[in-house]
Every structure is written in structure tokens, then in C-alpha cells.
Amino acid sequence: MQITSVEFKRKAREALHNPQLQHALGRMQSHFVDLRTQAVRALPEFEAMRDAGVAIRDRVLRDLDGYLKRFERVAVASGARVHWAETAEEASRIVAAIARAHGVKKIVKSKSMVTEECDLNDHLGREGLEVVETDLGEYILQLAHEPPSHIVAPVMHKNLDEIATLFEKKHRRPRQDDIAALVNEAREVLRPHFLDADMGISGANFLIAETGSVMLFTNEGNGRLVTTLPRVHVAIAGIEKIVPTLEDAATLARLLPRSATGQPITNYVSLLTGTRRQDDRDGPEHMHIVLLDNGRSRLLGTALEPMLRCIRCGACMNHCPVYQNIGGHAYGWVYPGPMGAVLTPLFAGIENAVHLPNASTFCGACVAVCPVKIPLTDLMRELRSRQLAQGLRSWSERWVLRAWAWMARRPAVYAWSTRVAVRLLAWLGGRSRRLRHLPGLGEWTRGRDMPAPAGRTFRELYKKRRVT
């Protein structure tokens, strides 16, 4: 996917002025937040399960090479072929080669953010292959030639009217104006594709090292169709998706759907291991698993390693006040919200996504809801430090931070200058106690007044209280 994160500010501004998007965002916010809250409240053991989830993910990252090799060994023993790709480009080439080797013409796909990372559909299209997205949201986006704006609800930015218009135009059928009819229309259009596709492509929520299995969490049933009917199944997953045992998968299965959509479990959870067995009468004859690095191994052993715990539930974006106001497209790549603000600079280059780690209020809601307790605000702070160290911040910002650091290390200077500053600002605030303009901080006061300080610093007040 083309990275447009450098345009974050412009796109965020456009999103804020898009009434239809604002309406969609308002609907989404209350929906996902409320559902998750209810689901978590109904499970008293949820906190203990989060801690267990952290332990599982950290265990894998600590011995990732061992778990990867073990996964590969048992997956191969069950009839799958395992491929390794260092880059997104390489993963696409591998999938195209698999399709060619099996004489594939038509491919059905279930939702996979990793394949968005790889631009896989474009790549396969250029090879002359027909690729049909089958997750309803992804199918709508394919028809509209748009990228997803949410990792779980990819088409949350579109309303019923837009989808009805799109279906009418693309399907050349009479316009349907209710949701059930549109869902049914997509079912009717897509069913023949499932039945005559030669190859199915899926992602993987987890790869189980114990059994060499691909584990998928879906609601629509398209994931099952894609991995059952075509004669070839290709699963693509990041190398960090490994989970040691089936018991560990059970623990994560309690965390993932609740955090994502507030469901106690998704409609379908499928554990797929190898090819059709000797006497089986259904299931794919060939299974390929593509393990993608694409920058993940670079995070291991660094301050940013906890990001690799991520199980892609989307809770951080659902609860983020920035995402809630601008949606996913402004972030400019596959992964939006707080997890995207950390991942995008790491995958796409820190200089190509300068705004993202700064597009946060640091309220910590993302950290509070993350099922595997990723310290997202700490990671964004780390990226901000790296930006500074690499000279990616403006000279004025660097100067201000340096001056602040100098002052903060000298208590006497700090106390004196804040006393002066507070009085000066109080005087500037005048009787209205509002600051309309701040020299050099025009962005801050453009859309709002800043309340003027009351005339005493915290230190002064604290000292006074101790005396009395």
C-alpha cells in the first residue's frame, strides 16, 4: 500500500470537515467502546487473562527462532509448505509463484492486513490473476478501490447509502436500501466465486507452534469457505504471530474477540493443519504458509519489542480520541490509530511518518484497553526521541526542548522563571483571563483561547500550604 503518512495533517483536517465521516465515526465509537466494556465486565477473570496474554506473547518473542523452527517442522510434517519472505515484495512474488505453479486463475481472499502490507492484490492482478475479496467490508473496498480505514471493521467510514449506490452500479441490480438485502446480495454475488476459485488466500490470527496450525477468527464464514473449497490454500502471516500451544491459543481466544468487538467468541474459530487427509472428501490438496518478516525482526531486542505482542484487535484505535475524530485514512498506511502510529514509522521509515507518533493526546486509553498491555504511549515517546535524535524535528522545537531541559535541571532557575511566566501570562490574560494569542504558538490558539494562569505557580501554592 502506498504510504501517504507525510500528508497526515492535511488529511486529518479534511477528515474533521467531512460530515459524513464524522457521523460514521460517532456511530463506531459508542458501538465498539460499549460492547467491549460490557464484555469485559461480564468476565471477572479478564485482568488475569491479560497478564497471561502478555506472558504468552513475551515467551514467544524471547525464543522466536525456536518457536518458528518448531512451527515449520510440524507444519511441513502435516503436508504444508512453508515459505519465508524478508520483504512485502518478496511475499507477493512467492504467492504469485505458488499461483503459477498450481495453474491458478481465480483466487478468493479472506481479510488479511498483512496482504494489505504487501499490496498483494495489485501484484497478483498484474500477473493476470483474478482476485476476489470475500470479507464483506473488504469486498466493498475492492469495488470502491479504497484502502481499509480500520483493521477489524475496514469499511466503517462508509454509510449504507454509499454502499447501496456502489452495489447498484457494480452489480447492475436494482438498488437495495436495507442492510440485510445488501448483505444477501453480496452473498449471492460471491458464492459462485467461492465454488469455482482455484486458490484461497487467508491471513492468520495465530500460528500454533505445537501443531503447525493456522488459526483464524472470523464471523462471516468466508474464512472457512476460502480455506475449505479451493484446491490450494495460502496463508500469509507475520513471523511474530506464533503462539506456543493450543492452551495459549485458548487464552488469547478469550482476549481477542472481546477486545475487538465485545464478542465472547467469534462465530467461527478455525484451526487449519496441513492438507486434505488421505480419506478426506473435502479440504484443500495443497497448503502453503508464507512467513513474512518485513521489518519485524528489527524490533526484537529493542525498546520497541513490546509492539510485536500485538494481536491486531483494534481496541487501541476504538478508544483513541484522535482516531475517533479523524478515522483511519489520515494515518496513511495499513495500520491506523495508536498501534499504527507506532508500526507505520517502523515499517515505512521514521522520516515518512513524522506526524504519527505526535498525533496523540497521551491520554493512555490505548494502554488501558490493550489486551496484551503494550505500552503504546511509551513507544510513541521513544519514536519522538528518535525523531529528535535524527534531526527530524524543527529547529524551533529542538531549541525549546533544549532550553526546557536546561531549565528543568536547575530548580532555582525553574522556580524563578515559572513565577515570572505565570505572572506575565496572568497579566496578558487581563480581566477575561483568556489568552487569545501566544507569540510563536499560533497553532495552539488558532481554534481556541488558552485559559490564563491564576497568578501563582504550583510550587508557591504548595509551599504556602505546608506553612499553614
Binding site: 477473570e45 525464543d63 519465508w84 471493521a153 448483505v183 469457505l225
Partner: protein
């Protein structure tokens, strides 16, 4: 050097001696359980409640021979086809007595009703566990618009961990597909409005057999 070797080399270098590969196999052999939710004593009752919450219809019958009556009643009240495909283990039931035409075979795009058994039911979430195999084809629970599952009360366990233990004990090797099914297929992609019958079955009936 291959991509595989380069990736693994980077992973090992990042670890910088911190991990211990010998712990991998040891941990897999122990496969410890994580924290489990507390469930009441009547697992079958809980299974029925949760499955109903997830939009499955549940009926309880005393004996396996009562299943065709329950199925016929369900199909009739929903005005559905009286023809079905089923798993071989169920084909010998007295379907004909209820004027049902039930055939043991894999499902195609044209079959409207699929009748399966289940390896287990999970009380925690009201979930069916289906294992694929020569006599338990995965398509029967997937392609038809109506999925009917016949489950023995003795197959109901508390949690997913319990079914893993049961599967390891009874199967040894893992089947190609383990499918956990929790109600009819659904989507909420359009305006976050839940709609049943996305790509899989539109409706689901669970017939729970036994007291």
C-alpha cells in the same frame, strides 16, 4: 543465504543470548493452562443459554431416535426444505418416518440443509467443536443455509482447554480442520449493524441429546 536463514539469523542476533531454545520443547510438552472463567455446575444448561444468546436455536431430546422429530418440527416451522445432507454417523436415524430425505455425503452449493454431529460442545461460550475427517466432512456445516448439529450431553465440556485435552486423548494426531462454530454466520461490516447469514449458514439448530 536464503531468506529463511537471514530472518532466523536476525532473530537470534536480537535475542543476544537472552532466550533458551531448550525451553521451547519443554514448554510445549507441559502446555500449561491459563486462567479459566468460573462456570456453574450444570454445563449443559449453560451451553444451551450461551448458544441461544449467539442466535442458535436449541432443543433438547431424550434419545437419539427422537432427533428426526425435532428436526422435522424445526424445518416445518421455518418452512424449510425437507431434504438434507448429513454425516454418515447420522444417516441411519429414522428420518423417513418424519418424511425427511437425508443423504450421507459432502455438501455442495445446492444443498439447503446440513446435519452434523459434533466432537464437543463448550459451555463457556455455547460453541460447537467440529473435527474434519472422512466421515465428518467440513462442508456439511458450511455450505447449506441451515446447519443442524446433533450433540450428546456427555460431549459438553466447560472450556476450550477441556476440548483440547479430549482431542489429544482421542485423536492423537490433529485433524485437518478444527472448526469452532458459535451460531449462524454474521457480519456487522455495514454501519456496525449485525446481520445474520453472511457467507455461511443463515440459521442454526442444536439438538442436544440426553438428560
Amino acid at each position: 543465504m536464503s531468506a529463511r536463514e537471514r530472518i532466523l539469523e536476525r532473530v537470534v542476533a536480537a535475542r543476544a543470548g537472552a532466550g533458551d531454545p531448550s525451553t521451547v520443547e519443554k514448554y510445549l510438552q507441559q502446555h500449561p493452562r491459563g486462567p479459566a472463567p468460573s462456570l456453574g455446575p450444570d454445563l449443559a444448561q449453560q451451553f444451551c443459554e450461551r448458544a441461544t444468546q449467539l442466535a442458535s436455536e436449541v432443543v433438547r431430546v431424550v434419545a437419539i431416535s427422537d432427533v428426526p422429530i425435532a428436526v422435522a418440527r424445526y424445518l416445518e416451522s421455518n418452512k424449510l426444505s425437507r431434504r438434507a445432507v448429513c454425516w454418515p454417523e447420522l444417516v441411519a436415524l429414522p428420518w423417513h418416518a418424519q418424511h425427511l430425505e437425508v443423504e450421507a455425503c459432502i455438501a455442495t452449493g445446492n444443498d439447503l440443509v446440513g446435519i452434523t454431529g459434533a466432537f464437543a460442545g463448550i459451555a463457556e461460550t455455547g460453541t460447537l467443536m467440529l473435527l474434519s475427517g472422512a466421515n465428518t466432512p467440513a462442508t456439511v456445516s458450511l455450505l447449506p443455509e441451515t446447519h443442524i448439529a446433533v450433540v450428546q450431553v456427555g460431549c459438553i465440556v466447560a472450556t476450550m482447554e477441556d476440548v483440547w485435552a479430549r482431542m489429544r486423548a482421542q485423536w492423537g494426531a490433529i485433524p485437518r480442520a478444527v472448526n469452532f462454530v458459535s451460531g449462524p454466520s454474521r457480519t456487522a461490516d455495514v454501519e456496525q449493524t449485525v446481520t445474520l447469514g453472511a457467507h455461511g449458514p443463515r440459521r442454526a439448530l442444536i439438538v442436544l441429546v440426553g438428560d
